[in-house]
Amino acid sequence: MVEKPVWRSGGRRFAALAAVGLLALTACGGGGANGGSGGDKSKVTVTYQQFGGSHAQEQFLSGVKTEFEKANPGVTLDLQPITASENDYYTKLQLQMRSPNTSPDVVYEDTFLINSDIQAGYLQPLDDHLNSWADWNNFTTTAKGAAKALDGKTYAVPDGTDTRAVWFNKDILAKAGLPADWQPKNWNDLLTAARAVKAAVPGVIPLNIYAGKGLGEATSMQGFEMLLYGTGSTLYDAQSQKWVVGSKGFTDSLSFLQTVYNEKLGPTPQQVLDPNWNNTVSQQLIPAGKVAISVDGSWVSHNWLPGDAAPWAQWSKVMGTAYMPTETGQDPGKVSMSGGWTWAIPKNSDNADKAWAFIQMVSDREHHLKWDIANVQIPVRTDVASDPSYLAANPTNKFFASLVPITTYRPAYAVYPRISNEIQVATESVVTGTTDVPTAANTYNDQVKSIAGDAVMTAAGS
C-alpha cells in the first residue's frame, strides 16, 4: 500500500488524509485476526485453499474433522480455508506462516512452492515421523520425492498428484480420417493430425496447446514443459544443481509452438493470452465440439461430472486420451509432467504432534481413496491406484495413473516461479510473432542468468 505524500499542506488536509490512511489500514488488517491457534494444545488449525464453485475439499475435510475429533477426544480440528485464487493463496499462507501468532498447525502446500517455503524455513522436516510410519511404504517413489528438499529431508506428505497428456475428440478426428484409438508417436504425428483436422473440419481449433503469460503456470507446465521434457533436455540439472540454458530442446520446443500458431493450427494468440482461456477450453469449447486435440491435465474431466462447472454426460464416449509423445519418439516414448498438493507442518506450529496425527489420518488408504475419487486426483499410494473402486470411478483414471512411472516433477526451487515466468514470456513472444525463436531463447537465457546467478549451466553441444 502506497501512502500519498503530504507536505506543506495544512493540518486539516493532513488530518483528513491520515484518517483515510487509517481506514485503509484497518480495512487491510481486518482479515488478519484468524489463523493461529495461539498456543492452545486442544486445537489443531488446518489451512487449505477454497476457491470457485468447488466444495470437494470442504466436504472431504469436514468428514475428516468428525473422525479426527472422535479419535482424539478433547482436541478440536479447526478448519480455516483461505478463500483466494492460487497465487493469492500462496501469499497469504506464507504471510501466516511467518509469525508464530498466526501460523496454522497443518497447511496444504502446492509442490510448486514447497521447496521455496522449505528454504525460507517455514516448514519442519517430517523424517522422524515418516520413519516410524508403516503407510509411507505404500507411497510411490516419485511421490516420496515430491516434497524432498535439497537437504535430503522430507517436509510434507503428498495427497495426490496429476499427470498431463493429450485429450482428443474422437468424432472430430474421425472426420479427418483418424482412428478412435489415435496415438501420436512423435511431434510430427501431432502436427500431421492437426493439419488434417484443419483441412477437413473448419470452425474447430485443431490443436490447443497453451502459451503466453496470461495462463501463467498452465503455459509453463501443460504447454512448454510437456514439449521440453520430450526433447531429452531439461530445465534444471539435478546432479550439478544448475539451471540449463541454451539447449537445442528449448529452441525446438519454441519452434513447435511457432509452427502451431503460425499455421493457425492452435487458438489465436489473443485467445490464448486470455487468463481464462484454459477454463473456456475445458468448460465451453471442448463440450461444444470446438476443439479437436488439447494438451491438458488429468483433472479436466472433473469439469464434466454432474454437479460441476459444465456437466456433460457423453464426455467419456466422445473424448479420447493419448500420451504426449517425445520429440522424435525417442525413449521413453512418452512424457508427462506432475504437480500436486501436500500436507505439511509449519515450523511455527505449536501443536505439531496432533498435526502429525491429522496428516496420518488424512493420508491413510481409505481417505486417499475417497479424496482421489472425489477430486479426480491421480493416487500417490500404490494400494489406492490399484483399487477397483478408484479405477471404476472415472474412465480416464486408469490411463492417467499409468503415466505416473514416467512423469516428471517440476524443479520447483525458490527461483522457479520467476524462471517459469520467463518461459511464459518466451512462448508469448513466439506465438504472437513479436520475435523469432532464437531471439526469444536468447532473452530467456539472459534472464535466467540474471535470476539464478551462478547456478546456471550451458547445455552441452551448443
Binding site: E3, K4, R8, G11, F14, Q94, A120, A414, P417, S429
Partner: protein, 302 residues
C-alpha cells in the same frame, strides 16, 4: 508534523502549558505512528533489503541494489511509461475534462436532467473498483457487448483489450472516476457569482469568452486541487487494471502498482516490490509538488 505545528503555534507560552494542551493529541499521534508512520518506515527500510516472501530465510541489507535493478530493467522503464500514460490520459485529460464539461452542462440543465445525470455518473463512482473493472472487461471482450453492438450496425469488431490494453483501462478509469471531478467542479462553479458572468455578457463577451476569461480563472484553485487529488488517486489504481488485464498482454498495461505487486507477491521479492512502491511514491510526490507550487504562485505572484 502535528507536534511541531503545536509547538510552533505556542511559541510564546510556557512549556508546561504546551505539554498539557498537547495531551489530547497524544492518542492520535500514537495511533498514527503505529499504523501509518511505522509501516511507511518499515517499507522504506525493506526497499533496501533483499527481503523475500519465500525461498530464503532472513534478509540482508543490499543498499541500492533494488533501485539499480529497477533502473536498468526495460520492464521497469515500460511500466513507468504506462503509469504516466495512464495518469495523464485517464486523470489529467479524461476525468478532468469530462468532469468539467459535465459540470458546466449540468449548470444550465433542468433540475430533472441534473438529477438523472448525476445519479448515473455517481453510480459509476459508487461501484467497487473490481465490479467496474469486470463490467468493462465484459464490455470490451472480443465477444462482449461492444462487439455485438458494432456488428449489429455493420461495423468491424474492436479488439482493444488485446491491441491497446492501456487505452482500454484508461477509458474504464475515466468512466469510473469522472464523478469525483464533476462533483468538485459543480461545487466550485456554484460559487461563481452570476453577476460577474452577467457583467461579462453585458460587456459583449460570448459564451466561450466568458468561460475562458471569467469562469475558469475563478475556479482555478479547485482545478489545481482536483488535479492533485485525481492524479494521486490514479497513480495508485490497482484493482481496476488487475481485474481487466492483470497487466497484460505482454505487460502492455503493467503500471507501477501492478508491476510492484507482481514482483513482491508473485515472484516473492518483497524488497524489490517495496523499492518499486517507493519509486511510485516519489512520482506522486513530484506531481504534488508541481501542483502545490502552481497553487502557491497563484497565492503570491512574484
Amino acid at each position: 508534523m502535528s507536534v511541531t505545528a503545536v509547538a510552533a503555534g505556542a511559541r510564546r507560552k510556557p512549556v508546561s502549558v504546551t505539554l498539557v494542551r498537547g495531551i489530547p493529541l497524544a492518542p492520535a499521534v500514537v495511533l498514527l505512528s503505529v499504523f501509518l508512520l511505522g509501516p511507511i518506515l518499515y517499507c522504506v527500510y525493506s526497499a533496501f533489503t533483499n527481503m523475500s516472501l519465500t525461498g530464503a530465510s532472513g534478509s540482508q541489507f543490499v543498499g541500492l541494489a533494488n533501485f539499480k535493478t529497477a533502473f536498468t530493467s526495460a520492464e521497469f522503464g515500460a511500466s513507468v511509461y504506462y503509469t504516466i500514460f495512464f495518469t495523464v490520459v485517464s486523470a489529467i485529460i479524461g476525468q478532468n475534462v469530462v468532469g468539467m464539461v459535465l459540470a458546466l452542462l449540468m449548470r444550465s440543465g433542468s433540475a430533472a436532467v441534473r438529477a438523472v445525470v448525476s445519479a448515473i455518473v455517481i453510480g459509476a463512482w459508487v461501484l467497487p473498483e473490481v465490479v467496474a473493472g469486470y463490467l468493462w472487461l465484459a464490455f470490451f471482450n472480443s465477444d462482449g457487448t461492444l462487439n455485438h453492438v458494432l456488428s449489429g450496425i455493420g461495423l468491424p469488431p474492436q479488439n482493444i483489450l488485446y491491441t491497446a490494453p492501456i487505452l482500454a483501462v484508461s477509458i474504464a478509469n475515466v468512466w469510473r472516476g469522472t464523478a469525483f471531478s464533476m462533483l468538485v467542479y459543480s461545487a466550485a462553479l456554484s460559487e461563481v457569482p452570476k453577476e460577474i458572468e452577467e457583467a461579462a455578457v453585458v460587456d459583449g463577451a460570448g459564451k466561450w469568452r466568458t468561460l475562458i476569461s471569467i469562469t475558469l480563472p475563478m475556479v482555478r484553485r479547485s482545478i489545481a486541487t482536483n488535479l492533485m487529488l485525481i492524479t494521486l488517486q490514479t497513480l495508485s489504481v490497482f484493482g481496476l487494471i488487475w481485474t481487466m488485464t492483470k497487466g497484460g498482454p505482454s505487460n502492455k498495461s503493467s503500471t507501477l502498482p501492478v508491476f510492484a505487486y507482481q514482483q513482491a507477491f508473485q515472484f516473492s521479492q518483497l524488497g524489490y516490490g517495496t523499492a518499486l512502491a517507493l519509486v511510485l511514491l516519489v512520482i506522486g510526490g513530484i506531481f504534488s509538488l508541481i501542483y502545490l507550487r502552481a497553487l502557491r504562485l497563484e497565492d503570491n505572484p512574484a
